[in-house]
């Protein structure tokens, strides 16, 4: 079971007068099969937090531990853009991030392609696929290494509303089936409410302002009363914090 433990996390950029605090004294624990969304306005430190979690940046102070059953957890990533190698086929793009080329691995890649409805597109090049299909390949790639934790950085923000909705459903289904932990960064409160069982609200200046549990059953329909109420609740939090700047 995966665990993320963040203690007294502090991150600053620059020195002297140019000093900017990106994250201020963040304490946090995430365990098990959870879907955690990190929401907040631009500049609230959510990307910085993700970069620290994924090891791209190091904290100024504090500790971050990501473990799974006592050992270091294996992470998977889905980016804002699909980031596929245009000169490799869909299957080879999945194989690119694998440690070996055994038949088992190939079979596993095919299984995840089928999970994102692209089982018959393995021989296509990314350029032959639509944006939504490319992002699906990106999701299949992240799942195909069977990571303990999945980090996703606004993976649906570039897609049209209908495609994004279809992909959210698939993602939820995969999360449910694989029992992975997902840490999902988004600026879309509706998306966060639809997918997560926990929402972390960050405020400008990098403070963790609120930690909201959402215990509604899945799948969640945005038109559903309870889901709409939950969304309104989170948005009200935003307003209270005067975060709805735009």
């Amino acid at each position: 079971m995966a665990e993320i433990r963040i203690k007294n996390l502090h991150k600053e950029f620059g020195v002297g007068a140019d000093k900017v605090v990106a994250l201020e004294d963040v304490n946090l624990e995430i365990t098990g099969h959870s879907f955690v969304s990190i929401v907040g306005p631009s500049g609230c430190g959510k990307s910085t937090l993700l970069n620290i979690l994924t090891g791209i940046e190091t904290p100024t102070n504090g500790t971050v531990e990501i473990t799974s059953d006592g050992h270091v957890a294996a992470p998977g990533y889905v980016f804002q853009a699909a980031r596929l190698l245009p000169w490799r086929t869909v299957t080879d793009n999945l194989m690119f991030v694998q440690d070996d080329r055994s038949d088992d691995t190939k079979e596993r890649c095919q299984r995840y392609l089928e999970m994102v409805q692209l089982g018959d597109k393995g021989d296509k090049f990314p350029g032959e696929l639509s944006g939504g299909m490319q992002q699906r390949v990106g999701i299949a790639r992240a799942f195909s290494i069977e990571p303990d934790v999945l980090f996703m950085d606004e993976p649906f923000s570039h897609l049209d509303a209908i495609t994004a909705r279809a992909l959210r459903r698939e993602l939820h289904h995969m999360w449910d089936e694989t029992k992975k932990m997902v840490v999902f960064v988004t600026h879309d409160v509706g998306e966060a409410v639809e997918l997560s069982n926990r929402i972390l609200v960050f405020a400008k200046g990098g403070r963790l302002e609120d930690d909201i549990q959402i215990d509604l059953p899945f799948p969640r329909d945005p038109a559903d009363d309870e889901v709409a109420v939950a969304k309104a609740h989170v948005l009200r939090k935003f307003e209270e914090l005067d975060l709805l700047a735009s």
Binding site: A81, P86, W87, F96, F125, G127, E128
Partner: protein
């Protein structure tokens, strides 16, 4: 047989439906045919004028009739082509020229690529920038003459002339390719803990390949011309040398034959060899443009 025939007509009383795809294919075929028709027509027109009228036209322009020996028609040139081919001098001449190109351009490619890599540093960029610019803009003839004067008919002359005229094309392309390295893909590979070796083999090299190929293609076409030119001035074998000999002997039929052979070989390299390489290695790009 007849029964099955009537059966099918009974099932489809209307004329067989033509699918949209079929229509598109027909239109494409028609377009291709007409394009080829005009292309071939241009060859036929040029050859006909050359064979039947060019001598008179030039004679008229000169004011005095032109000696037919100075301008043999295409039929005579083709006859001479087979004559020379039969003698076996042609493969030998091509071999000599191509060996020179292979050595000269091979070295040039390595040097050009190396400079392109070095030029990623500010200091080396400053150091090489003007040299690259000069190599790109100076006419190849300059280097051909200089190397001919210095090296005479030693094989080093053409090699150096080829390097000086072509390395910059490779440098510019390599340098541009490195500058455009896909950072997002490399970061992706790093976060998935893909090894450096695999990153280079599957991201850096495929990314640079089209740039290298462009350098190769343009560089080769210039190397080809420069080599023949060096042979005209200072060599005792190769296509350029054969051209010089026939020109000196006023054997225009032979001279034009060598030009014809040169032309066909260049066309073969461009249309068959290079395009085959392109089709083989850049299939993903065609797949992209096809959609």
């Amino acid at each position: 047989m007849t029964t099955t025939d009537t059966d099918t007509t009974a099932e489809t009383p209307l004329a067989p439906r033509v699918t949209e795809e079929e229509l598109a294919r027909q239109a494409r075929r028609k377009e291709l045919t007409s394009r080829w028709f005009w292309r071939i027509l241009s060859y036929v027109a040029v050859l006909a004028v050359w064979e039947f009228a060019l001598l008179d036209i030039f004679g008229f322009l000169r004011g005095t009739p032109l000696d037919p020996k100075l301008l043999p028609g295409p039929s005579e040139v083709v006859a001479t082509f087979f004559e020379i081919w039969g003698e076996g001098t042609m493969p030998a001449a091509f071999q000599a020229t191509l060996t020179r190109i292979a050595i000269g351009f091979g070295l040039s490619f390595l040097i050009g690529a190396m400079i392109g890599i070095l030029m990623q540093s500010k200091w080396f960029e400053g150091f090489f920038k003007d040299a690259v610019l000069i190599s790109l803009s100076a006419p190849g003839l300059i280097w051909v003459l200089i190397t001919a004067i210095i090296f005479g008919n030693r094989p080093l002359g053409p090699t150096i002339a080829i390097i000086l005229t072509t390395f910059a094309l490779v440098t510019v392309n390599v340098s541009e390719g490195i500058r455009a390295l896909p950072k997002d893909l490399i970061d992706m590979a790093k976060s998935f803990q893909v090894s450096v070796f695999k990153r280079n083999r599957q991201i850096v090299i495929p990314h640079l390949a089209p740039y290298l190929f462009t350098g190769l293609r343009f560089g080769f076409s210039i190397a080809w011309k420069v080599t023949v030119l060096t042979e005209v001035f200072s060599s005792s074998e190769g296509i350029g040398f054969e051209m010089r000999i026939s020109a000196v002997l006023f054997d225009m039929s032979e001279f034009l034959t060598w030009i014809l052979a040169f032309f066909f070989f260049a066309l073969f390299l461009e249309k068959v060899v290079l395009e085959a390489i392109e089709r083989r290695y850049f299939r993903w790009r065609q797949a992209v443009t096809a959609t």
